[in-house]
């Protein structure tokens, strides 16, 4: 079974190829059939292959299998090898499981799109790439997957490329990710230089014997740069909100459930290296905490239903970074799994709402959808409560474990625990706010809008995910740490930080975090549901200033723009009204522009005159002669 693990990757890849060549010919509904079947098949195969891991009494070495496919780049110690251990299995199951549901949902969502087949091509290609990423057994193959998911993300964000904003968002995502990739590539070079190979098996097996703490810190910080790019952490998170220009199933699959968690996965995977460096771990946790808090505040003031979820995703990814930063890998991965489920559900629900409202995304023009869309409403409610941390839903267990781990680490990390708690409160608030704005209260939609429940092909995945949201948390409760035991073989020899076992402390922590969630929901209820229109206006008027700052995401795009673009121009933009879209050319296009200008400045070198070319050649020759003669003498 495990020997043929490549089938898991080959299935979606084959479907992608099929749709690439025949997608247009087979027509709309049928193009989705191979796409869905391949991903579902991959899920089933992976589940069967993971069967052995559930037998708990096995020796841990046996649980880790390396499947060798072929010699890839012999000189680099990069063999095409797949690593099948519990962590890879968990990731594979999440990717294919959630992926399959989203594929089904997309059949309804993308109905009528002229490039229906192409959409599934990209989606399947993404699944295959993501599986390469999680199954790789060396950094080179990891990098392959890493780049490919980036490429798919880019293609899918700008899927509706006729919209200029979609094309710009795609570009932004790509460029910001390149910045992260740069750090990652340098990290790979350093790892290769230090270890002489890129294979996990050799690099991650007691790396402390090969490199010292200083080198480990450098490697881990570089890896962290890469992870921050892919997982939208400070300061590279700016691309993710814009990525919401893509179709909603894409947002659910790539920008919530799977791809953006690749950074978390990578840090967990390289836990052996991070274990050598407290600095790098602390940096990861701090970045995560800051990102979580910052993104949560921004989410509070968003009006676009998808942007709320985007910032919420950034915030939740911050949680995961906090966990893996303190070596709480189980907690981080657990939250990764639950988050994949309930955030995919939230996105799909939002997509269902957008679908019903004929493309409307502004929550100010929604309201009262509870009765029009019962299934969507119910599932969204479950997911909202889950992310708000209300027991016994999935989000409660995983978030609670992260906070417990942080608290257990103590010292400086208690501050981060506080930030996490505050974030939990804010999370509950903005999610409840979203719920009340969309489903509660009176209908505020305009003339001619006729909201209706989505077709069954979209609601069934919602229901499945809803049930999962209720149940999946129970795989790892403090009463029964099944998930932790399951993952244990993957973290053999890594200093894993566990949640405290003190029952009283655990209960106290759980009560505190639950209270935070309840308080957040209560405030939202009072402000957005209970209070009259006037009272609400008056209340919000008092906090207008911070709200506006948050609505515009602290003007980060603008600030980035200002750092690069001419200060005068940026100042004009600043005072011109803080229009997010107008200054979207932030850091990204700023750097692009700077590079392009530098290129432009060099162009006169190439004047077209033979003699100036000759002069350049001669000067170069003289300089080289002088240099070499000076070196050699």
């Amino acid at each position: 079974m495990v020997d043929y693990l490549w089938i898991v990757i080959a299935l979606p890849l084959g479907a992608a190829l099929f749709n690439h060549f025949l997608g247009r010919r087979v027509g709309e509904p049928r193009a989705a059939v191979p796409a869905i079947l391949s991903v579902a098949g991959a899920f089933v195969y992976a589940a069967l292959a993971a069967r052995d891991f559930f037998v708990s009494e096995r020796a841990s070495e046996e649980a880790v299998t390396v499947v060798r496919l072929f010699d890839w780049i012999p000189g680099l110690g990069a063999t095409a090898e797949l690593l099948w251990d519990p962590m890879a299995a968990v990731m594979t199951l999440v990717v294919t499981g959630v992926g399959a549901l989203i594929h089904i949902y997309a059949v309804g969502y993308m109905h009528g799109d002229p490039r229906f087949g192409r959409f599934f091509t990209y989606l399947n290609l993404f699944i295959a790439s993501m599986l390469i990423l999680v199954l790789a057994n060396n950094f080179a193959l990891l990098f392959v997957g890493w780049e490919l998911v980036g490429l798919c993300s880019y293609l899918l964000i700008s899927f509706w490329y006729t919209r200029p904003s979609a094309a710009a968002a795609g570009k932004k995502a790509f460029v910001v990710n390149r910045i992260g990739d740069f750090g990652f590539m340098v990290a790979l070079m350093v790892i290769f230089a230090a270890f002489g190979t890129l294979s996990y098996t050799e690099v991650l097996h007691e790396p402390g014997e090969v490199i010292g703490a200083g080198a480990a810190t450098a490697v881990c910080l570089l890896l962290l740069v890469g992870a921050a790019g892919k997982s939208a952490q400070l300061p590279l998170y700016v691309w993710l909100p814009d990525a919401m220009e893509g179709p909603t199933p894409v947002s659910a699959l790539i920008h919530a459930a799977t791809m953006v968690t690749a950074g978390v996965y990578m840090v967990a995977r390289t836990g052996a290296l991070f274990g050598l460096s407290d600095v790098a771990g602390g940096a990861a946790a701090t970045v995560g905490a800051l990102t979580a808090l910052l993104a949560a505040t921004i989410a509070v003031a968003q009006r676009d239903i998808k942007r709320v979820l985007a910032y919420s995703t950034i915030s939740q990814l911050g949680y995961m970074f906090m966990a893996v930063g303190v070596a709480g890998y189980t907690a981080g991965l657990f939250h990764l799994v639950t988050h994949a489920v309930f955030k995919a559900l939230l996105f799909l629900g939002a997509g269902s709402v957008i679908h019903a409202m004929a493309g409307e995304q502004n929550m100010d023009r929604m309201g009262g959808l509870r009765r029009k869309m019962p299934i969507t409403h119910l599932t969204m409610l479950v997911a909202t409560l889950s992310i708000a941390g209300i027991p016994p839903l999935a989000g409660f267990w995983s978030k609670d474990e992260i906070l417990a781990v942080l608290f257990a680490k103590g010292g400086y990390y208690t501050v981060l625990w506080g930030a996490g708690l505050l974030t939990a409160l804010l999370t509950a608030f903005y999610m409840a706010r979203q719920y009340f704005l969309v489903f509660g209260g009176e209908a505020r939609w305009g003339e001619g809008a006729e909201p209706h429940e989505s077709p069954r092909i979209m609601t069934v995945p919602l229901l499945v995910l809803g049930v999962l949201t209720v149940l999946i948390g129970f795989v790892n409760t403090p009463f029964r740490l099944s998930f932790e035991h399951f993952l244990a073989p993957a973290f053999e020899g890594v200093g894993l930080l566990h949640a405290p076992e003190d029952g009283f402390l655990l209960t106290a922590l759980a009560l505190v975090s639950t209270a935070a969630g309840v308080v957040g929901i209560a405030i939202a209820y009072l402000v957005y549901h209970h209070a009259s229109e006037d009272t609400r206006e008056r209340l919000l008027g008092r906090v207008r200033r911070p709200l506006m700052t948050w609505e515009h995401g602290y003007w980060v795009d603008e600030v980035y723009g200002r750092l690069i673009v001419k200060p005068g121009l940026a100042l004009a933009n600043w005072s011109a009204g803080f229009v997010d879209q107008r200054v979207i050319d932030g850091l990204v296009n700023g750097i692009g522009g700077a590079v392009r200008r530098a290129g432009g400045r060099l162009r006169p070198l190439q004047s077209g005159f033979v003699r100036s070319y000759g002069a350049l050649l001669a000067l170069g020759a003289v300089a080289l002669v002088a240099w070499i003669a000076a070196r050699g003498l």
Binding site: A615, A618, V622, V625, A629
Partner: protein, 140 residues
Amino acid sequence: MELSDYLPIAVMFILASAFAGVSLVVSYLISYKRPTPEKLEPYECGIVTEAEPIQRFPVKFYLVAILFVIFDVEIVFLFAWASVFGELGWGGVAAVTVFTLMIVETLGYVWKRGALDWNVSRRARYRAAPPAEAAQEMAA
């Protein structure tokens, strides 16, 4: 004097090149540039040029001259061969024969293409088949 003792040459090479380079750059940077057609004439002397200074020759002179140069210079290798004729033996003879055949082949090609005809008529006949290309054919 040591053969490798050429530091003065190196220094001069660098100095001279740097001087040339720097003066080029400086003159480019500080000079006024107001070109007029007169200034760009090869010989600017106040009187407007009416014709090209030198009468141009027909292309056929050039062709013959070039062919002469090529064949003349190629023969240089025969001297080198002749001076070690004895040592090289039959292998040398074979190599030189091949070399000579290549030259003869070139001669055959240009001859057949009409490059050696002072009189244009035969070249015109050669080109008669595809007349459209006649205009492009001049310098071939």
